[in-house]
Symmetry: C2
Subunit: 237 residues, 2 copies
DNA sequence: GTCTATAAATAGATAGAC
DNA sequence: GTCTATCTATTTATAGAC
């Protein structure tokens, strides 16, 4: 990967040079439209109005270019998450704002977002490692840190795995994004075309839970809790 | 779709006939391995040891056969959900058990599960309608009904959209399934290869929320709540 | 080299006999 | 229910003209 920005600037995008930027935009288009195999480096070069050799100069290989496209697709959300940290907001507000932004970005950039999701879905164990390390690591790590911060400041329960909440947050927006075409046709669902409202409701659910609050006699809630947090060797009839 | 079971038996699988059953198994294999386009009806017939015309006799078209494969992949989970209803368990226990079963099924039948998820991801607005109506409708509807039951019996908050919780439940297992190859390589994640434990932790989070309980002074929690439930016209403050 | 025309192969689907 | 035979559309391969 020769195209890494060595200028010391923000790590947002792997390419500071305007030339590489154009290639990246073209590549995002092409990979989104046609997928990895059907996209040729020759076509990328042609659409960018440069030589194929130049493309290989900026991005060492087709695979590297592809990886950079995936990174680019996640950049906005990653930056939004980072910027929220010194905004004076509570952690709950930061996470809620991130979810709004994340889902909005997914929907706005539908095609390339699908590309990312498909890449994750089709990832082999080895490919997953690469994605984790070279694409999602920074964002996920920061999300986990924010959750930890929420625990330290007393907003969140401390008996909770921060990585779990981070995972759930990502899953909320991503799964909504990928299921909305189906969701729309379930009669009891009225939020399939209202992502904003969905995020608000989902946040509420995630923060406060779905059990009836203020009801210590809730047998189901209390009775179930053990079964729901141990590997349950102790079948609690 | 001529192969529907008209014998009055359970609607579980579209095919009661042993002949159709074999075809379906072969089709699951082939579609899972090679995808829709790369799978030919001739090959299905050959692998099933029958004529091509016979395949068309049982399943009216390639598309219908494919749809039946998707349905078949969801059958186990749908049945498990249904059977849990008259098991005497609380709704919380039913949902927890369903999540365990659902994720277990996804992981056990990895390839065909991927097929289903990919189908949802790649669905056009029209394809989404078909999937919703002909594949997922029964299961999702039942899940929503179970949640409603939980609300009526006082286990769950009543100021919550049951379809939202149903969606979240599905998203938990499905997104874990599809992200686990990536998840495994995030250092703060220690549940990527422990689906049982993951489900238990996720249930806990989903049921009880992530906010610190028993702390009415939690400004973040209270302060955020209005912004997080704007759907209600009756702003309870 | 590139293009078009055509042949060959393969796909999905149907008809009618057994 | 199962088969053989057949139809039609599409894809792929090849030949030959320009």
């Amino acid at each position: 990967m020769q195209a890494r920005d060595v200028s010391g600037g923000p790590v947002a995008c792997g390419c500071a040079n305007p030339g590489a930027q154009l290639i990246l935009e073209v590549a995002v288009e092409l990979f989104s439209e046609k997928g990895y195999n059907a996209t040729s480096m020759s076509e990328v070069a042609r659409r960018a109005g440069i030589s194929k050799a130049n493309v290989f100069h900026h991005f060492g290989s087709k695979h590297d270019l592809y990886l950079e496209v995936i990174r680019e697709a996640c950049r906005d959300s990653r930056e939004a998450l980072h910027q929220g940290r010194d905004s004076g907001q509570t952690v709950v507000q930061q996470l809620s704002a991130f979810l709004h932004h994340h889902l909005d970005t997914l929907l706005r950039r539908d095609r390339v977002s699908r590309l990312v999701v498909r890449e994750v879905l089709d990832s082999t164990p080895e490919g997953g490692k690469e994605l984790a390390e070279q694409v999602f690591f920074d964002g996920f790590t920061e999300l986990v840190e924010i959750v930890r911060e929420g625990q330290q400041q007393g907003e969140f329960r401390s008996d909770m795995d921060p990585a779990l909440l981070a995972h759930m947050i990502i899953s909320i927006s991503l799964f909504y994004f990928q299921s909305r075409n189906v969701l729309r046709h379930f009669p009891p669902v009225d939020f399939a075309d209202e992502p904003q409202r969905f995020v608000e409701m989902a946040c509420d659910l995630l923060f406060h839970g779905c059990l009836k609050a203020g009801d210590p006699d809730n047998k189901a809630a209390v009775g179930n809790r053990p079964a729901c947090r141990t590997m349950s060797k102790e079948t609690p009839e």
